[in-house]
Subunit: 471 residues, 4 copies
């Protein structure tokens, strides 16, 4: 609820039958990763056709828009704009003609050396129609495709130029590839479906397609996907992994499995750790729906304090509406969330959410509970304080938006008006995720970035002869 | 999830300030009662303006569509079509010019003697542009307004002609009325908001507007609503009340209070009763989200069996999509609901939902859980078996759709593939609701109808041997 | 160009084959009579289906909207709103259920005693959803259908109540009727097409359908149309005819024949009469396109002065656009019309148009010609000065809009900046039309109205002691 | 009517005030040059904003779409697709970021060596998102801008690489340029408007903006346009001019002046020449509206045969509609054009049109006239027989579509069913245009192309024996 927003989701499928409707369905399953535009590119045996538009999958890729489209191989993309506008202009897949043929690409992530690379390519005569790093990736790839017609070599050469987070799906002429950045920041997983293979941002899509998980794409791996198999091209050098911890905490669906860890289980364990680290004497535990639900169940199960659903979330109030005066504006949050009075009145209440960015919504929810008669309101948060920007595809790019930047936990507790506030510790979070800290990206928590970012501290540079980089 | 669909929601507001945005917000809060069309009629001091269209509030009443609209008094409506088409043609409010002036009406419910009344009015020269019972109500009201310019007498006379369920909001020239049928089948509640008064289908809207509940509209009552007060006109004869039990079980928001009973609490108590009536030795209790959540929490709290969220519901999969072959069609439910494997694998699982109509979806969900590795799957249902049609505004009008019609509980258990199946008993449900059975409509459970329905048994005729309460 | 706007067009077809596309085509041919909404009602053998919307035929009745519609009998309507709003709410055909069955109606004209009749019917309990006189007509018809199930008697009785101009197409259950008001103010003509019969506002539609004109519907006649014949019901009493002279002067297509007179020929003869009545020593004659073209050709042929096209009309500039300041606003007319400099520079020019209402556009056109270098600009107008309102379906309902009301011809000449101005005389116009004055409606020219209009002079009232007006 | 379709129109404006609405208006005036998409790019002092979409100016650049756009310098484009799809993807202006800054371009014409150049640039690493030659032009320009930051040198270098027809408007960062190809195939003219200067495809736009023609852009010239002046960069070598004769015959508005010749006057002179070259003993001369009108007036004036408008053109029948069977399909032309029977019945009729491509429509029109009673139907055509494809922006790219390819005039006369058929001679056409043949492009008439086209004969190679004018 109060967490950050995420960038995108991708899918690529090769099968022995028409996969247009399959792509459409897969994108619906990962729609939560991007709701601003949706698109698919399909190879029909001769050429690549693309349909994309602003809006949700059900409108951008509605039945009437895709009914003429057919093909056994294709890629799809849903987009949340972390940079650039929201219109159809920036919708993906992006399709381009190069010397080697046609390339269609879908990209989840952010290229961190985009600015310098773009200048370099401009100086060499490249032209750009958008501000997106995806267009840059195609330009780089085009250069290498022109030099060497082997697409795997071209992708590998492109990866040697770009830094940052990326999970890519690519059609190059009649071949389909899935690519994950060497740090494995964004998720990408392989699955077997009836009559074909799929690579997709989240495993829940493989379930929904009736398929089975094969394995995660390895960081730095290039996978070529065929209808009846896939073929791996592994990186020569292994980077330290840096899986984004926020995928488990908030972004991914609870029914997905990311890099071996079930998201729902991680969230439950976060609740368990929270209950141990920050216990509270309260009458009931309740989530901020829908984001804090699994965390709250874990807290309840560990503490033995009853679990209740004390907030009603209105699923029709996604978008803003007319608020002519201050009175109305204050009522805005109340359209999305309403406390259930009989549940909270006269009670000591503990609410659990996944994270705090600005804290403004949380402050209003605490106030709502008090107005509804709660005797005490305690807050527990399933991630440590966020204090540093993310450059890897999450919509929090500046420090001044973080309430935890410059405020102690006690100060934040007062600002949001809670009786107590407990964040999970970094070590507690790492324990709950079940992956060693050195294989996670915790940059937004500790300011140590897995790749070189101008003006930021690079995790492994400063500690290269030294593995004590952990706090 | 697997329950029936409901008809409509209404709201009427009078205040000392412009209430267009307030109406819009209130309709968003009761949007779950009808998602096919939305509309408002506003009295601007001179005349009544109406904006309505097919679609959700956010599109049918978008900012650009209502920005020119102003007024201190108005009504609103959201519609789920139980009869007739879905288009703008049937959107409400319906506005008509009569001899007495302009009438705008919003209607939640179904008029059961519609067919006969329509024939009668046609024979007397009336013409109808739609098949809706709302148009009939205006025609009847027009007759009485023509005979007697007192709108309250006209409404009362209209109520003497029509049978069935209705919660009405009405503007007659410059006066605003809220009306509830003599049995109180559909809910309608009065609230005080800043600078005004409101009547609305559900109390959650009063919360969201920052107001306070005043009281439910009494069955048979006509309430005139002013900006600074309201005035009641009570029925001369009191009918037996017949509040629809399904409002608490499924239709209403959990944060609403209907006829004095908090919906969330009723659902929790249903879970408690279910746990007593149909206990089970299982490892965990989980809801069918979102409909079974409060029932499951009650079951968990009473039984001491841990509560888990074992299904992920995809909120973007509301609408259907292309399903070119049988293989795809089977995958349709899986787009909406996916089990969380790590939670259910190897476990004895008990799932709770509000009701069963056809049982087809439930069957697929049970199968999904087994495929996900559940050792046992037990099902508990928060309402007794549905065996009789509803004629009062719920979309279940024929007997042959009910799985419980002609099948025993054991047979149903086998059909849906569960290890055990338990419905709450009628007496258990009544206990959980907290209102005596004789004040509830249980017609879909026991076939006893509170009003005369051709071909059906009337509750009080058969039980009282006395029809003198009528007219 | 500078003339008034007109109300509507209607068509009704019965055939031995599906006529949906035929209706659509016929409406395209009479699209000039109404561009605000379009609709069709089709009887499919069982019931009547209606498709209608705001916009031109090509959008309101686009292929996708009508592809599911089938039937061998139907009516259609295109609308220019002389009263009420422009939205889909007022689109026709209007369909209503009455005691006798379903009635669909399309109406071209205005009912002049609408106000009194509406009050009367309201008092008797009727309700109205719109302000249109068409809804009133159905209410009246419904009353008589209820009294007597013979639709022809009901139509005849309805005609005895309503005054004014009307050309109606009607489906009553499974029967199709075409009706023309007793004065024959608006046109309506019968045609034979392949496999069927048609009644339509203008004969050009019969041509476009590959059919042959049968004859005009007689004023006061009710025609029932079958697939293989038609059957006439003639009025008992013959009113004096009053065909609207503006149909020939401006409204109708030049390729239509109305009440026996070819429209193009009438316009040419108007030019001939103008050349005789108001000759001029000029170098060339040119029309205001497209409205004055035939008149100008007649003037040129009669006078021997060369005909030129000196204005270019931009067919893409139908609608207004952003005009941020006065400078831009002055340029507005110039987007629609541009003089061809080489044609007019240094020349004495005579321009011909059909009529003058306000004179504002004409003034700008004269100025344009002078700026383009014309030495002299003379103006000739194909209708006499308009000084009285029209109550019969033309969008000129008040006196103060007419430049000829209160200004002499000399004064108007000065206002528009012309070197000379000549209107055709009333007698000249009558001669050109070829129908005796007593069979024409000239009310907007001489203030004598063929029907009783409150506050206006009735033509035949003044001559009541004299029945010799009939030919 | 029966002529070919044309490619595009462009405009560029620099002024001391906001020119967004001015661009919009100018595009409306040249809308006839392209009706598939419209767009504008405006420099607001900081950067370039682009609004473009499929559709007419009034929808693609509607008030709501451009109301936030402001700037004193901008370019605009209307498009008819001669290659590629019709969607927004191919709408112009095209905007790209290059090493030198941002470039926006609008292009009217076709680059004839596009295929080879594209291959060359692809091989050098360029990528293309569309199939349009406009994207290629920007890539070439980008290369030269990267080499040399002087935009005029970059444009000149670009012109040395591309062959074909092009009239370009360009914004390069904060500078506005207008460019015409060295042969001057497509028109481009400079004008002075209030507070600024304009370059536009047709002079009629300068009139509509209240401005004055300055002069045509010289073939091969680059003009930089400022708000208070313009600056010319002339080509070092002058190519033989090759103005497209079809601009005067059909494409341009009659009120435009192209390369010094008034379009209406040229058309009238064509009619005069036709009357001399191919006289006929007929009763009346009539145009195919709207394309043949000026030609017919010229014929009438020269021959003394009366001019009449014998066809009614339906301006609402632009688009196709449902035609379920052959019977309906035959009626299609009749929706667009209807003869006026009283004018043609019993008469010897001569019709004049601008050109014949396939002849199919003309055949139907002749038949219509005969059915309407014409005694004889004679046809005169304002251009010589078209026998060779156009590679310069006109939608006639293959030989097999031309009826004159393989048929003599007598044969064509029989095919279209006329009593006589006369084309104007090439020399007659040249005389009417008033420009020497060696300065016109007559390639579609004589197969001699002004630029090198693979498989076609180049005009000056064969005639001059000297290719030194190139490069």
């Amino acid at each position: 609820m109060t967490g950050p927003k995420h960038s995108c989701g991708v899918v690529g499928i090769s099968a022995d039958h028409d996969i247009v409707a399959v792509l459409q369905k897969a994108l619906m399953i990962i729609q939560h990763r991007g709701q601003e535009s949706a698109g698919i590119s399909v190879f029909d045996g001769m050429t690549i056709h693309t349909v994309k538009d602003a809006g949700l999958v059900q409108t951008a890729l509605s039945r009437s828009r895709i009914e003429g489209l057919h093909g056994n191989m294709g890629i799809g993309h849903v987009r949340y704009a972390t940079t650039g506008g929201k219109g159809v202009r920036n919708a993906q897949p992006l399709t381009m003609t190069t010397a080697f043929g046609v390339v269609a690409i879908g990209h989840n992530g952010d290229i961190t050396n985009y600015g310098n690379l773009r200048k370099e390519y401009l100086a060499n005569g490249a032209v750009f129609q958008t501000d997106s790093d995806t267009e840059l990736i195609i330009n780089i790839m085009s250069k290498y495709l022109g030099q060497n017609s082997n697409p795997i070599l071209a992708i590998r050469a492109t990866m040697s130029e770009i830094d940052g987070a990326y999970a890519l799906v690519l059609i190059i002429n009649d071949r389909l590839f899935a690519v994950r950045d060497p740090h494995g920041i964004r998720p990408l997983i392989l699955g077997k479906i009836k009559g074909g293979y799929v690579a997709v941002s989240e495993s829940a899509a493989i379930d929904a397609l009736g398929g089975q998980i094969v394995r995660d794409v390895v960081p730095g791996e290039i996978v070529e996907i065929f209808k009846d198999s896939f073929k791996s091209n592994m990186p020569k050098f292994t980077c330290p992994y840096a899986h984004c911890m926020f995928e488990w905490v908030y972004f991914a669906r609870p029914d997905s499995v990311i890099d071996g860890q079930e998201v729902y289980d991680v969230r439950r364990r976060i609740g368990v750790v929270l209950a141990r680290e920050s216990p509270a004497k309260v009458d009931l535990v309740m989530p901020i729906p829908d984001s804090g639900r699994a965390h709250a169940i874990g807290f309840s199960n560990e503490s033995g304090i009853p679990y209740e659903e004390g907030f009603m979330k209105n699923r029709f109030a996604e978008r803003t509406f007319i608020m002519p005066d201050q009175h109305e504006r204050e009522l805005a949050v109340s359209t999305k969330m309403n406390p259930i009075k009989s549940t909270v009145a006269g009670k000591k209440v503990l609410i659990v959410d996944d994270s705090i960015v600005r804290g403004t919504t949380l402050k209003q929810l605490v106030l709502m509970l008090r107005k509804a008669g709660a005797k005490e309101v305690h807050v527990r948060i399933g991630s440590p304080p966020i204090t540093a920007p993310c450059y890897y595809g999450v919509d929090m790019k500046t420090r001044d938006q973080f309430i935890a930047n410059g405020h102690s936990v006690d100060e934040i507790c007062k600002i949001i008006g809670a009786d107590s506030l407990g964040y999970i510790s970094i070590s507690g979070l790492v324990e709950a995720i079940g992956i060693p800290a050195e294989k996670l990206c915790l940059a937004c928590l500790n300011g140590q970035y897995p790749t070189r970012i101008e003006g930021e501290r690079e995790r492994f540079q400063s500690t290269l002869g030294d593995s004590s980089f952990q706090s």
